[in-house]
Symmetry: C2
Subunit: 292 residues, 2 copies
């Protein structure tokens, strides 16, 4: 059974509630967990490693270490595979997602990550580390502008999550235009935009939102028309009928059925936390505390 993915939108709280990083610490096994921090995305690995080691130790993770993988040689050597032994969770720091894929893709470490993930390894990543996990990833693109075709550049990702394209620092950097453009290029793909200090926790095809912002899902299955294949590179796109869901903490998404989920909060000890599919009126009436 494949492991859990914890995809973080960047700038996660490291000093107050630390909700998102606690999610990682918990998934890693807490006191019995071992987190390996991979700093490949950044060209400044030591401060990043130090920062996350301190936080995860403070959050009670039993064993936290960092491994410097700066080149394909590093990713092919014994140091890399040794680092993964006995690891319960790998954590990718931020930087440039193209560094992650161009350095790890096709190496022994890249292969081992995928295999261990399929056997239950938790993989977490923030910012660039979030974007890199899907089959196709966004490398770069204009922000804060209407969708324009050629400003979104995509490339193959680490292939740990099928059928989705991920973007991060989402609301804060005005990236919905580029995510809609990515989805328009193949509307079969689901766009997942993650705000800062927010995580999408993905397990067995179901996504759950954690943190203070929202996860925006861009669903192109209702897209009745786009001119993405006809426009010149700098022209704004026409997109007709894109469906958008904005999901904060307490909500989630069934990636297979493409339906939002509501996670009922646990109101007393005897009550089970449950989840409900959001089905309009029936759901609203059954929500705790809701007016009939």
């Amino acid at each position: 059974m494949a492991g859990k993915l914890i995809i973080i939108g960047g700038a996660e709280d490291k000093e107050r509630d630390c909700e998102v990083l606690k999610e990682v610490a918990g998934a890693a096994g807490g006191g019995r967990g071992r987190i390996v921090i991979i700093t490949t995305a950044t060209q400044n690995p030591r401060p990043a490693a130090k920062k996350y080691m301190k936080i995860f130790q403070r959050l009670g993770v039993g064993d936290v270490r960092a491994v410097e993988i700066e080149s394909r040689q590093d990713a092919s050597g014994p140091k890399a595979l040794d680092a993964l032994k006995g690891t319960t969770c790998v954590f990718f720091t931020g930087g440039d997602q193209l560094r992650i894929t161009s350095i790890l893709g096709g190496t022994a470490m890249g292969g081992a990550l995928k295999e261990l993930f399929e056997r239950g390894l938790v993989i977490a990543g923030t910012s660039a580390g979030a974007s890199a996990v899907s089959s196709t990833m966004i490398v770069t693109g204009d922000e804060e502008d209407s969708p324009r075709k050629c400003t979104v550049k995509m490339a193959p990702g680490l292939d740990l999550l099928d059928g989705c394209v991920i973007d991060q620092h989402f609301a804060q950097r005005g990236r919905i235009g580029r995510l809609m453009c990515a989805v328009a290029q193949n509307p079969h793909v689901l766009g997942i935009g993650i705000d800062e200090d927010t995580a999408a926790v993905i397990d067995e095809g179901r996504l759950k939102v954690s943190g203070s912002g929202a996860v925006t899902v861009v669903d192109g299955s209702t897209l009745s028309f786009s001119n993405v294949s006809e426009t010149r590179p700098d022209q704004p796109l026409a997109l007709v009928g894109m469906t958008i869901h904005v999901l904060p903490r307490g909500y989630g998404f069934d990636l297979i059925q493409r339906k939002p989920i509501y996670f009922k909060p646990q109101e007393d000890e005897n009550e089970n936390t449950g989840e409900k599919d959001i089905q309009g009126q029936e759901h609203l009436q059954s929500q705790p505390g809701n007016k009939a």
Copy 2:
């Protein structure tokens, strides 16, 4: 028959193609037109008046004048009503939309504008001047953030356009979150977000896009759920099933039927310009130049 509305997203080109301002000049009647510039939105009216008078004169408008309406007394006095006599087009400059409504609303000038509009007066506005024309207008709200209920403040607008809420500087200021929030509060209302250097030209219930950016339509009729009435003011909203259309030049929207429109470009003299409803595959095959 009601007049035309030309709603501009701000920062319209004033030096090169001037496509959007030419749209206004043309609608005003060109050499036989009379444009009155109303600078009420800004606390610095004279430079704004001068700027637009120069441009419209350069674009060939026969008669261009500005009227300073700085107070409700101004808007109630004879100067205001005299200024509107014989006018073919009123142009609202940018600034603060609340100045427009709080100064003009309920005065003789406010009433005259509505009446003349219903008899064919063209009303154009940029930036704040665009937001002010609808029944309910956005006053302010957070930008570049996930939708949050209480950061969107709305107030009654000039009531020249029913059933829509307008936002401007749209892509450039990351305002889709606040527009989705406004629509969630009453999903009957259509959200219309206009980018910089872009205009929505609205006539007889049909919107046509002009300029270099896009008009984003946020249609809440498919919204199956939102928690807008339950959340605390600063909590991010959950929105399920919002429909988004992004429409650049050459496209439009039927505001009554809530359907996008494609305006077929005129390819030769004998061919009529036409418009088509965008209906997915049938439309794609009938589009000029499109691969079958």
